[in-house]
C-alpha cells in the first residue's frame, strides 16, 4: 500500500516535470486522470452540465498556468490539484451567489440529462439514478452556505479541518453549518418523499 502511494506520488512528480518541459502527452494524461472528478465537483455546485463544463475548462487553464508552483513537498499531485480545483469552484459558486443573474441552478433539463445519459437496463439502476437526481435537487434547495458545507462533508468527504482550510471560517461555524445543512437536506428530501420512514 505504501509502495503504491510512493509510486503514485513519483508518477505525479514525473508528470508535472514533463508538463513543465512542454510535453503535451503528459498534460493530456493529467487532463484525463482528473477531468471527471473536477467536472462532477463543478456539477454539484452549478447543477448545470454546461456551466460545469465551462468551469472545468477554466479550472484546467488555471492548473496549466500554475503547474510551476506545484511542490511535491506540499503533498501529492492529486491533493494539490483537487485543492486548487475546489478553491476555484467554490470561489465561482460564491461569485454566482453574489451575482444571481449568472446562476444556472434549478435547470430541469440538466437534471433530466443525467437520467437520459445512462442505460435503462435494470429497474434498480434506474431507481439509483433517480435518487441521485433527487439528491442534487435537494442540495440545490439549500441556502448557499449550508449547501457548500454539505457537499464538502457528505459528498467530497473532507474532514472538518479541511473544510475550515478551504472556506476560511471557524471550526464551530463549519460544524453548525454541516449539522444545519444535513437537517435541512433531510427535511427537503422528506418533502420529496425520498427519505420517508
Amino acid at each position: 500500500m505504501e509502495a503504491l502511494k510512493i509510486a503514485t506520488e513519483n508518477n505525479g512528480i514525473e508528470l508535472v516535470r514533463r508538463c513543465r518541459a512542454g510535453d503535451g502527452s503528459a498534460w493530456e494524461e493529467i487532463v484525463s486522470q482528473f477531468s471527471r472528478r473536477i467536472f462532477n465537483l463543478a456539477y454539484r455546485f452549478t447543477s448545470s452540465v454546461e456551466a460545469a463544463e465551462d468551469l472545468t475548462q477554466e479550472v484546467f487553464i488555471r492548473i496549466y498556468k500554475t503547474l510551476d508552483q506545484y511542490d511535491a513537498k506540499q503533498g501529492d499531485l492529486a491533493n494539490w490539484l483537487m485543492r486548487l480545483a475546489r478553491n476555484l469552484i467554490i470561489d465561482d459558486y460564491r461569485h454566482r451567489q453574489r451575482n444571481p443573474q449568472n446562476s444556472m441552478a434549478d435547470d430541469v433539463e440538466d437534471h433530466t440529462f443525467h437520467l437520459r445519459a445512462v442505460g435503462t437496463s435494470a429497474q434498480k439502476e434506474i431507481e439509483r439514478r433517480e435518487l441521485c437526481v433527487q439528491v442534487q435537487e435537494g442540495i440545490d434547495k439549500l441556502p448557499p452556505d449550508l449547501r457548500t458545507c454539505v457537499i464538502l462533508r457528505d459528498i467530497e468527504e473532507l474532514s472538518y479541518q479541511e473544510i475550515v482550510d478551504v472556506l476560511k471560517i471557524p471550526e464551530g461555524t463549519v460544524k453548525s453549518r454541516i449539522n444545519r445543512g444535513r437537517i435541512e437536506l433531510a427535511k427537503v428530501l422528506r418533502r420529496m418523499r425520498v427519505v420517508n420512514i
Partner: protein, 262 residues
Amino acid sequence: MNYTDEKIIKCSEFEELLTDYLDGALDKQTHKAVAAHALRCPLCHALLNEVKDALELCHEMTAPKASLTHLEARILTMTAPETAMSCSQFEEHLTDYLDGFLPATLFHRWERHAVLCESCTDLPGEVVRSIAACYTYKMDELPIPEGLHAKILQSTLGTTKAKAVKASWSSQAAEWMRGFRLPISIPQLAPVAMIMLFAVLFFGSTVSADGSFGGVYQKSFELAEQTYKQSADAVLGGEETNEKKSTQEPVRGTFVDNEEKK
C-alpha cells in the same frame, strides 16, 4: 436414590400439572414426578418445551423496551420538566449525537426528546438516510461531456493533438537544471549560506593591504579628518593645498606601501 418412594404420573396427569409445574406451585414430590415424566416421555417433553417457549414469547411481548422508554420519558418530563429539551436544541445536537460526541447529560435529554416529540422522532433516521443518499450520489459520477477534453487541450496547449506537442531540448535541460538549484532552496542550509555570504563580504571588504583589520579604523579616522578639513577650508577659504599636504600622514593599511615607496 430410593426408587420405591417415587411418585409416577401418567401423560394425562402431566398435562394437568404442567402450568403449576412451570409456576413452581407444586409440592416437592409432585414437582419431581412431573420432571421425571418429562425426561421419560418424549411427547410430554416436547409439550413442555413448546409451552415454555410460548410463555417466554408472551413475556417479551408484554414488556417491550420501547414502551418502557416512552413511559420513562413521560415520567421524567412530568417530574423534572426543567431537563426537557426544545426542538431547536434537539436539532442543534443531532450531528454530535450521530457522531457519538454528545455528553451523557445531554445524551439522555436528547433521547427523551426523540422518543416524545412527534415532529422530531423521525428526523434522526431521515438525516441518516439522506447522508446515505449523498454517499450513493457521490458514487454515481456523471460521465464527462463529449468534447470536453478536446476543449481543455485546445485552450491550454493550443491544439487538440497533445501528442504532437513535444518538449524541446532546451526546455528539457532547463527542467533538468531545476533539480540542481536545490542546495540553497533547502531551508536548513539557508543560515549556512547566510553565514558564508557574510564572511565573504566581511573579509573581502575589511582587510587592508597589509592584512590587518586595524588599518580600516585608521583609514576611517583619516577620512573623517579630511572631511573636517575640507569643510573647514570651505568655510575659512585659502591654504587648501598646504593643508591637504599636511593631512597625508602615513597610515597603516593601503597607504603604507606608498609611504614605503617614497
